[in-house]
Amino acid sequence: MRTFAPIFTGCLLSLCACGSSAGDSIHIGGLFSTTGPNAQKGFAQLSAARLAVQQINEAGGVLGQRLVLVYRDDGEDLNKGRRAVDALLDHGVPAIVGATSSEITGLAAGVAQGKALLVSPSATQTSLATSDFTTIRLCDSDLVEGRLLGQLGRDKGRRAAMLHHGDAAPGSLASGFAESFPGDALHSLVADRTLEHGQESFRQELTQLLAARPDVVLLDVDPIDGAQVIRDFLTSHSASSVTWLFSHQLEDDGFITAVGAQAFGFSHLGVGPSLPTGRRYTLFAEAYKARFGAAPPIGSYAANAYDAVFLIAGAMVAAGGTEPTALRARLPQVSLGGRAFGPDEWPQLVQALRAGEDVNYEGASGSVDVNAEGGTSAPYDVWSVKDGAITIDQRAVRPRQ
């Protein structure tokens, strides 16, 4: 009986491991907005995840099996997103890289709770990381970005206005921005407009907003609506001297093309995730360009999606299987403390995990240290559009405390 016990246990473990696998492969989900207003980010994230899966497989795979990415497009639409999440869960994936947007990540977190670990590269909504312990994100929160934008806005003027989707609820980007304009004698918020998605024109909202004579205007909308706002501004209010403050959503080549590459002569600046530096990012960017023909777009969180795959794969190795709760529990062992390994050291990382070592995955996007709240902390870059292209004006900025 003692002879058969290890064999039985081994078989049981193998069955657990195969719960999310098909034959000799382990499937993980990829939920990205490859259509819709943030498709540039979504497509770059999909590409980066594919690259990570390819590199892991070339370096030996996971648990002796081939890793396969099962991709679904959520179109940044709640109905399509729900169908996509259901399809991935029906497929039996134990972990999902995604989603691109906070809205779909929130939806997926609700649906996937307990069934799959969700690792989003770019869901910045503040409440996401604290709501559910099987959802983590590899980026900082809207609140932090809003505070930084507010502080940059104070440097440009005293009267601020906001144009954004959603509301200015506590924890939102708008609320973080508003902290810098408390309505005291020096700095005040003079207008706050919520925009509906997909309007043909925002001329009316813009005119009413500018009638309050703001010095700075925060624009936190998707690239399609953002481009329409700026085109309406250039058509109707080009004489205005207001300074525009763009959120990370607008750090997108598509936004620039839609406005017109040569049209950015007006006063503006933007904030977005800091472009990583260092050898690991360089290796990632070179491999990305070699495979897809172009560098990963600035502001796309592509490196974060790449790291998400490595983290999930590392957690699988650490857990010796693919059970979602076990993956979540093993993430700190892979991402925090211990001996540092990069994505180019996957075989060594696997060997260390098998030896029971605590490892610290240091990724292409940075340290990806998942904190107790299920998020990471990262700096921002300040950018503007010069000669039709996104130009980084200040690197690795954080809001002042």
Binding site: T34, T35, Q54, E200, R203, T257, A294
Partner: protein
């Protein structure tokens, strides 16, 4: 370069049955010039070729090249009621391609739209009355003709002035559903011992209004999409017009000088374009012009030299408007091209079994890159009522006025050897050097066994070809978000094709059957992918496509001929990412894996009338990649049955010395509607029943 011999002549009346059959057998000896630039019997030509003659065009009442191609094996036309997107052997050009996978020429002169590399397949290409015959090659022809002779080549050979000898008036009446239309044309020609001239022009008006978006359109699945409430197509009128002229002067500098002018005026309301379906305000206009001066000099009995120079220009018409559904403005497109091409070619027979062809050409193109200006239709008002922009204001689009120059130098050589009377072989190659997309070498090898005394002939061919990225694909600005944006790093799409063909002439003049198989490997296949807020043409995949074609001409009785054609084309292997699942796997987008056409020609016993019924079955066509992504999965449009019937009479003397002829063509007799694959979330409806009466009167 026109063929020396025209296609099938009608069998003369008054002969007995044996003589009739022999005459019909003679008709099957078709000469083609496009394959090797020398006139050869079709069965000896080292390519898979179909010839459609003027008599068939007249008898079936065909008014366009698209009509001609409908029943030619290996071809399939997805018509979005503006552009004909012709695909060949399972390969289509994708969104807004207008059949750019084939090279269309008139008398050897390319007449494509140089901004898009797309072709004109509608009545705007050429007055059909001016066509002597059409040579249609399936398979690669880049080894002689260079870019875009990719999976096919179509050479429209025109009549000589001597054949026209006078003037001919054409009057047409049309009916599309319940919408009347019509048109007309004039052709004149003549010749003496030193000059041969032919001039032709025509125009047509059609109204295709009243069509709905097919229910298969992915965007209709979204109830909140504005498309759901746009109703039927309105004022969907097309006004194609064409002009063609050629003059040949003998004994000029010891040679022959010819001047050719060809104009295509494309003018169509476009209700089913991906960028603005059913917005009721899009009208597309392109005026394409090509002029060529050529000089042919016979050096000896076995050698000749020719030189040519040409100018081309294409630009949008003044009435063009693009309606993307905005209430405040329309778009005006800037996309024009002009340039020169020149060529020098020599043919020689250095010794008896070997014919050598050497040539070079140069092309310089200036492209005004495609940009879109905003035209405000109404006063643009501020909330306080003040006018921000008055109606009629045009705001230039991004990069408006930018130009780019393309240059291409090509050199080619071909050796054609006759190994006895039964076997011939061809070996050729060409190198194109382009300043944007680099060097593109191509080649061909062919072996033909066609003994004149045998009923059988066999061909084996292999060739490489390429489709060049167009100026639009490389550099266009988008109209709006989710529209096509240029990809400056796009590479040429390449194909290597292997073909095996056999033909058998049936005994007793009963007809001929040809059958061929092909396998082609396509590399760097171009598809439009959403890579952000825009679609971009990208080199995404490699694939193997295999298939075959059957073509049979059967003389069942003295007065009854049948023509049968069938096509199989299927992608059997496609490069995929083994680490990725979930992308919709679309194979053979826009092209049916199988289709068959049966045509009959029945000489009625009175009045010289001929009845030509057509019956086609077309298999399912896979949706485009962009629609599959929109739908979330691959899907196909169901197969359909197509019917047509033509009653015609060839020109004959009814009154005095003048000749009168007519053709009444009825299409989609059963008024059955089907859908064709579209782009941008929509599929495209087919036309219903149509009737077209064409009267010709010599003057």
């Amino acid at each position: 370069m026109p063929a020396e011999s025209s296609a099938a002549e009608p069998a003369p009346a008054g002969l007995d049955l044996v003589e009739q059959m022999e005459a019909v057998e003679d008709q099957l000896i078709q000469m083609v010039v496009s394959t090797t630039k020398t006139s050869r019997r079709a069965e000896e030509a080292p390519s898979v070729v179909t010839v459609v003659g003027a008599d068939e065009i007249q008898a079936r009442g065909l008014t366009s090249l698209a009509d001609v191609l409908r029943t030619v094996p290996g071809f399939y036309d997805v018509y979005d009621l503006a552009w004909h997107n012709v695909g060949v052997r399972g390969v289509s050009g994708g969104a807004r391609a207008a059949g750019n996978v084939v090279l269309v020429m008139i008398d050897g002169m390319p007449v494509d739209d140089r901004s898009t590399n797309g072709n004109f397949f509608g009545p705007e290409l050429i007055p059909m009355a001016a066509v002597d015959h059409v040579e249609i090659i399936r398979g690669p022809a880049s080894a002689i003709y260079g870019a875009n002779a990719y999976v096919g080549l179509i050479n429209v050979i025109t009549r000589k002035g001597a054949d026209v000898s006078g003037a001919r008036l054409t009057v047409q009446g049309a009916l599309d559903g319940s919408h009347p239309g019509g048109g007309g044309g004039l052709m004149a020609g003549g010749a003496n011992d030193w000059l041969d001239v032919m001039v032709a022009a025509d125009g047509l008006f059609q109204d295709r209004s009243g069509l709905a978006l097919p229910a298969s359109s992915p965007r209709l699945g979204n109830a909140s999409d504005v498309l759901s409430g746009r109703g039927l197509s309105l004022n969907d009128r097309s006004r194609p017009a064409s002009f063609f002229s050629r003059a040949r002067l003998q004994r000029i500098l010891k040679g022959t000088l010819s001047f050719t002018a060809s104009m295509q005026s494309f003018d169509s309301v476009a209700e089913f374009q991906d960028f603005g379906p059913l917005t009721h305000g899009t009208r597309l206009q392109r005026l394409n012009q090509n002029y060529r001066l050529a000089w042919e000099l016979p050096l000896s009995a076995t050698s000749s030299l020719s030189a040519s120079a040409g100018y081309f220009h294409v630009a949008p018409g003044a009435a063009e408007r693009l309606d993307i559904g905005r209430s405040d403005y329309l778009l005006l497109r800037s996309a024009s091209s002009q340039g020169f091409r020149a060529g020098l070619e020599g043919q020689a027979r250095p010794f008896e079994p070997l014919d050598v062809l050497l040539g070079m050409d140069f092309q310089l193109e200036d492209h005004q890159l495609q940009t879109f200006d905003r035209l405000y239709e109404h006063d643009l008002l501020a909330p306080d009522g003040s006018v921000i922009q008055p109606a009629g204001t045009t705001i230039p689009g991004a990069s408006h006025g930018a130009w780019a120059s393309f240059t291409n130098f090509g050199a080619y050589a071909q050796a054609l050897a006759s190994l006895g009377t039964d076997v011939s072989a061809v070996l050729g190659g060409r190198l194109d050097v382009h300043n944007v997309y680099g060097n593109n070498p191509t080649g061909r090898l062919g072996l033909v066994w066609a003994p004149p005394s045998s009923a059988w002939s066999v061909k084996a061919m292999a060739g490489a070809s390429y489709k060049a990225p167009s100026a639009e694909q490389l550099r266009t600005q988008p109209m709006a978000v989710l529209d096509i944006k240029g990809n400056p790093s796009l590479k040429a799409q390449r194909a290597e094709t292997f073909e095996l063909a056999a033909a058998h002439r049936l005994p007793g003049g009963l007809g001929e059957v040809t059958v061929n198989g092909f396998a082609q490997v396509v590399s760097d296949r171009v598809e439009f992918m959403q890579t952000g807020l825009y679609l971009q043409a990208q080199n995404v995949a490699s694939e193997w496509v295999v298939g075959g074609e059957l073509e049979a001409h059967l003389n069942l009785a003295r007065t009854l001929q049948l023509k049968l054609s069938a096509t199989l084309a299927r992608t059997v292997q496609r490069s995929t990412d083994p680490d990725l699942e979930g992308l919709p796997e679309v194979t053979n987008p826009l092209f049916p894996p199988y289709q068959a056409h049966l045509l009959a020609s029945w000489q009625l016993p009175f009045g010289g009338l001929k009845l030509s019924p057509e019956l086609s079955y077309v298999g399912p066509r896979a949706a485009s990649q962009s629609n599959a992504l929109e739908q979330g999965e691959a899907y196909s449009l169901p197969g359909y049955l197509y019917t047509a019937l033509t009653l015609s009479a060839p020109p004959r003397r009814l009154v005095g010395e003048t000749e009168t002829g007519f053709a009444l063509r009825l299409t989609n007799l059963l008024d059955q509607r089907h859908a064709e694959p579209g782009f941008g979330g929509i599929d495209v409806p087919s036309q219903g029943f149509t009737a077209l009466l064409t009267l010709t009167q010599s003057l």
